[in-house]
């Protein structure tokens, strides 16, 4: 890295200002001739410096859109974004584009899901890294090249000097993802958002990449927002986990507690329905009935109610509010009792 930051002292983290503060983020998509789609429906969460936060949910829950909204990467037309995203006291959502461009790459950056489509196929990888370095740190060509070689080496790409000239299609999926991570971390941003970074990768490669992310985050002291649908990934990586459903956070807890005592029926059901390497074999998995399409709008009910085994009448009439007790956020009228597990 061009500037290796010391890892944040964990004790000071708890009381420090949050690095990122998302409040009531709402994203609505508008397409001609169709009703508006609310992709993100009032999401609020904080990220402390150096913390690893998870955003977990299935397709359509709004996790990717949330990350795009934070980075201001959503298109201007047909999209309405409201709420606030505070970083260093500035609301990123209201910044003029030129100022946001300054921050992207330098203060916050993103690692995307599919490295093949996220890397420019006609530009050598090295150039894509040096571009970032020269843009934000004003480095000269030679210095940037040297730094790029160091970066590629740090992310575990063998023979980094030669790889600078390589094109993305000449690399494997795992290597491309490492290159993407190198680009994202080139300027040592304080916040890294990783949107399904390992979903397209094989299991053994995924393990390597996750390990790499773990190390880099520890080393640079950057905060990481990990977006994924894979609860296993989250269990090993994230300190705090937010579970999203239909555009809202339905449960938030510290990871050990979330997995040992999931209280929201969705989290609870999801954990029980996943086949695990250590679960009894051959029995039917308790499945959540219906599918993600079977939901009702949040504004007058609980979106999960149609599928919920614990639903009450009020779940279809009154929107459950998010309540925070003892470090856990829960949005449910009839949560799983704390002593159940």
């Amino acid at each position: 890295m061009t500037a290796v930051r010391r890892a944040e002292d964990p004790r000071s983290r708890a009381t420090a200002e949050p690095l990122l503060s998302v409040r009531d983020l709402r994203v609505t998509f508008h397409r001609k001739g169709e009703p508006d789609t609310v992709a993100v429906d009032g999401v609020s969460f904080d990220v402390a410096p150096g913390q690893v936060v998870g955003l977990v949910g299935e397709s359509g829950c709004g996790k990717s859109v949330t990350s795009m909204a934070i980075m201001r990467l959503l298109p201007d037309r047909g999209v309405r974004v409201s709420g606030s995203v505070l970083m260093d006291g500035t609301d990123l959502l209201t910044l003029p584009e030129a100022q946001m461009r300054e921050r992207r790459g330098r203060d916050l950056s993103m690692v995307f899901q599919d490295p093949l489509t996220s890397l420019n196929p006609v530009i050598p990888v090295g150039l894509q890294i040096t571009e970032v370095l020269r843009r934000h740190q004003g480095m000269g060509k030679e210095a940037a090249r040297k730094a790029a070689v160091e970066l590629l080496d740090r992310v575990g790409i063998p023979d980094p000097r030669r790889r600078l000239e390589a094109y993305p299609h000449q690399m494997s999926g795992g290597m491309r993802q490492r290159a993407l991570i190198a680009i994202a971390l080139a300027c040592s941003p304080r916040l890294l958002i990783a949107d399904e970074p390992t979903t397209a990768l094989d299991v053994t490669i995924q393990a390597q990449i996750l390990e790499l992310l773990r190390e880099l985050v520890r080393e640079t002291g950057a905060a990481l927002v990990m977006i994924t649908h894979d609860l296993g990934v989250v269990a090993g990586l994230c300190e705090t986990v937010n579970v999203l459903y239909a555009g809202r956070i339905v449960e938030r807890a510290q990871r050990h507690r979330l997995f040992t005592t999931p209280r929201h029926p969705y989290t609870h059901g999801l954990l029980r329905s996943i086949p695990r390497l250590d679960s009894p074999q051959g029995e039917e998995l308790p499945a959540i009935r219906g599918s993600v399409a079977d939901n009702v709008p949040w504004d007058h009910a609980c979106a999960f109610a149609p599928r919920c085994p614990r639903s009450l009448d009020r779940c279809l009439e009154i929107t459950p509010e998010a309540e925070t007790t003892g470090g856990r956020l829960l949005r449910c009228h009839n949560p799983v009792p704390a002593s159940a597990e």
């Binding site: 001739g33 079977d294 109610a305 149609p306 639903s311 279809l316």
Partner: protein, 307 residues
Amino acid sequence: MTTTWLERRRSRIDDLAGGRSLGAEAFRRLCREPAAIIGAIIIAVFVVVAAFAPWIAPHSATEAFPQLQENLRPGSIPGPQEGFPLGSDQLGRDFLSRMILASQQTLLVGVFATLIGLAVGVVIGTIAGAFGGWVDTLLMRITDVLLAIPSLLLAISVAALAASPSQTTVIIAVAIVSVPIFARLLRGSMLAQRNSDYVVAATALGVKRPAVVLRHMLPNAIGPVIVQATLTLATAILDAAALSFLGLGDADPGRAEWGLMLAQAQTYLDVRPALAFYPALAIIAVALGFTLLGESLREAIDPKGRR
């Protein structure tokens, strides 16, 4: 309680839905598109006029009227007057009737040329796409050669080969020009289909090969071809008009056909520009109508972001 809610909602949806095929949904989308509606109206007007031309036209295309002829002078052609809304043409015939009757010719030529081109192109494309290998290579090289020649030049060459030029020659020439376009388009679609899971699934199921090609591959590949057909109709009309203009169509100068009328009107541009203006406008309008419809059709069949 929510179980019944879920079930009630499901059964309500079931009752409503009769099962809408993709074609039906595309049609609905099409009906909402202003460009499609405008295009459809233009085409409808054109088709109606062409179909009922003999009844709509007040007079015949060839009859010369003494009232008009007596006013013909070098440097002056009678304009709109009583009984002749568009006035006279250069030989004293009713211009309006000629315009209306000419639409029949244009429609015939355009439609036939496109249909023949479509039929031949689809057959070639299907064979190339379904068989692959050397059959495909051979057929595609031939179409490549045809595609390399600019369409109008090709049409002119084919038409010029005919011993005696006629409308049939024009139709065949324009058809030949469009064959490679359809063939290539369909072959491309078919190749893309070959490896689709549902085609493999049909084979796995034990469906016979011809049935797989005709029931699965072809219907899914034909969409872009239909769109292309509407656009080709537009160019076919233009090409046919051009061929007539150049004298490669039916030699009879008295024939009412917009391209021919446009050609003949060249000499009278300073005397009575309307003689050129109206046929040109008609050609453009019809071509525009088909183009609008074709483009909207393309949007409706494959709008971005739909399943």
